[in-house]
């Protein structure tokens, strides 16, 4: 039990050091339709489109998700580096960017052209923390 508590404390401190939103819990009701989740990223093989995604991320997302994607706890913004985010399909991430989640303060970014939203998805993949 004592080891578990120590592990918990160490894990929390490590997470805090990375600026991670440790309290982030995905909204279980924020799920895309199957058809949307199955969509493939048309830019998946075009890595040259990723820097554009980074620029869009800094412009539109970094205010809440932090420039490194770790998420701001006080804004309830997801830590985009977490496996719970990274394990989602490209189509799911695209749908979430498009629709937002007003109940959790995430705005919709449907005003961005479709390809730019896919560029964002491409960039989100680079945030995945190495194992």
């Amino acid at each position: 039990m004592k080891q578990l508590i120590i592990f918990g404390i160490v894990a929390s401190l490590a997470a805090a050091a990375f600026g991670q939103n440790v309290s982030y819990q995905p909204d279980p009701n924020w799920l895309p339709p199957n058809q949307a989740a199955a969509k493939l990223n048309p830019l998946a093989q075009k890595s040259q489109a990723m820097p554009g995604g980074r620029k869009l991320f800094q412009r539109n997302c970094a205010e809440c998700h932090n420039p490194d994607g770790s998420g701001m706890e006080k804004k309830h913004a997801a830590d985009l580096q977490l496996p719970v985010v990274q394990n989602q399909s490209d189509g799911t991430l695209f749908w979430k960017i498009t629709n937002g989640n007003p109940d959790r303060g995430m705005p919709a970014f449907s005003q961005l052209p479709e390809l730019q939203r896919w560029q964002l998805v491409l960039f989100l993949r680079t945030l995945k923390r190495p194992l």
Partner: protein, 292 residues
């Protein structure tokens, strides 16, 4: 630090913080679409409407300031302060309006409705023509006569908007009731479409990339009132619209509106410059010693 000092620093902070933020402005001047202000952001815009007068009319310049704040992801509130200057006549403050837009649906749909409610207190000299309802505005009388009449008006709009293959299509139907005059209910419309000039973002930070520009078209006018519904005796305009994301925070917009009938001005020129302060509430809270 005194309160005045804090307020002065706050003003500087607002301007400087704007240099590090971004804006995604629609190119429209009259038509609203379903994209609301992001929660916690403040968008400040200075715009103007000027006319090319008909024979016997005078050139005017009608500037207005707009403060748009995202209360939640589904509710945006906005305050307008309006003025007007007519060549060979006078310059005056013409009034203010307060508006709110609500998105009833949570998700993006094929057509996205937004409900709009506005209260305005403006005098008869107001010429920004943010929307046209009822008959055409009086641009011939002197300001001293026009300012004598103050209008207290409640206005609602049904905003329908759709994003189809990077095109935005939007339509607004306006119903307004002026409580100061017995004009019945007045009606108006606006229709618009626009598209960015490029849909893929470049990796570099560029100002003149095509992705920073969008263009489209607006058409707007009055539909008369319950005393006489229809397209006659009211102004109608067709207006190309252009927007340029000048920097990450600022947008410049321009629209020449061409009058389609004799009730309209031959041309209305509209210019707008806006900048967005992201996380305005948090910055304000931090400044006044709130949550870090």
């Amino acid at each position: 630090m005194t309160l005045m000092n804090r307020i002065s620093i706050l003003c500087l902070l607002m301007l400087s913080s704007a240099l590090a933020c971004s804006a995604q402005e629609s190119p429209y001047f009259v038509t609203y679409n379903h994209h609301l202000e992001e929660p916690g952001n403040l968008d400040i815009e200075i715009s103007t409407t000027t006319n090319v007068p008909r024979w016997g009319q005078k050139f005017y310049f009608a500037p207005y300031a707009e403060f748009e704040y995202g209360v939640t992801a589904r509710w945006t509130t906005e305050l307008y302060l309006e003025g007007q200057s007519t060549y060979g006549d006078s310059t005056l403050f013409t009034g203010w309006r307060f508006e709110n837009r609500f998105r009833p649906l949570k998700r993006e749909h094929w057509i996205n409705p937004v409900l709009y409610l506005e209260y305005e207190s403006i005098n008869g000299a107001d010429r920004i023509q943010k929307e046209i309802e009822g008959g055409a505005p009086d641009v011939s009388s002197r300001n001293s006569e026009l300012r004598a009449s103050t209008n207290h008006e409640l206005e609602t709009k049904l905003i329908l908007s759709s994003d189809v293959h990077d095109w935005n299509l939007a339509g607004n139907f306006i119903v307004a009731k002026n409580f100061s005059q017995n004009e019945g209910f007045e009606f108006g419309y606006s229709l618009a479409f626009s598209r960015p000039l490029a849909t893929l973002a470049s990796g570099s930070s560029c100002r003149f990339c095509r992705e920073n520009f969008s263009a489209g078209m607006e058409m707007y006018g009055g539909l008369g009132s319950t005393l006489g519904f229809g397209l006659h005796n009211t102004a109608h305009y067709a207006a190309p619209v252009f927007a340029w994301l000048v920097s990450d925070n600022a947008t410049l917009r321009f629209s020449p509106g061409f009058g389609l009938n004799h009730e309209s001005s031959p041309v209305l020129f509209r210019f707008g410059y806006s900048y967005e302060i992201k996380g305005f509430t948090s910055k304000l809270s931090r400044f006044f010693g709130g949550e870090k």
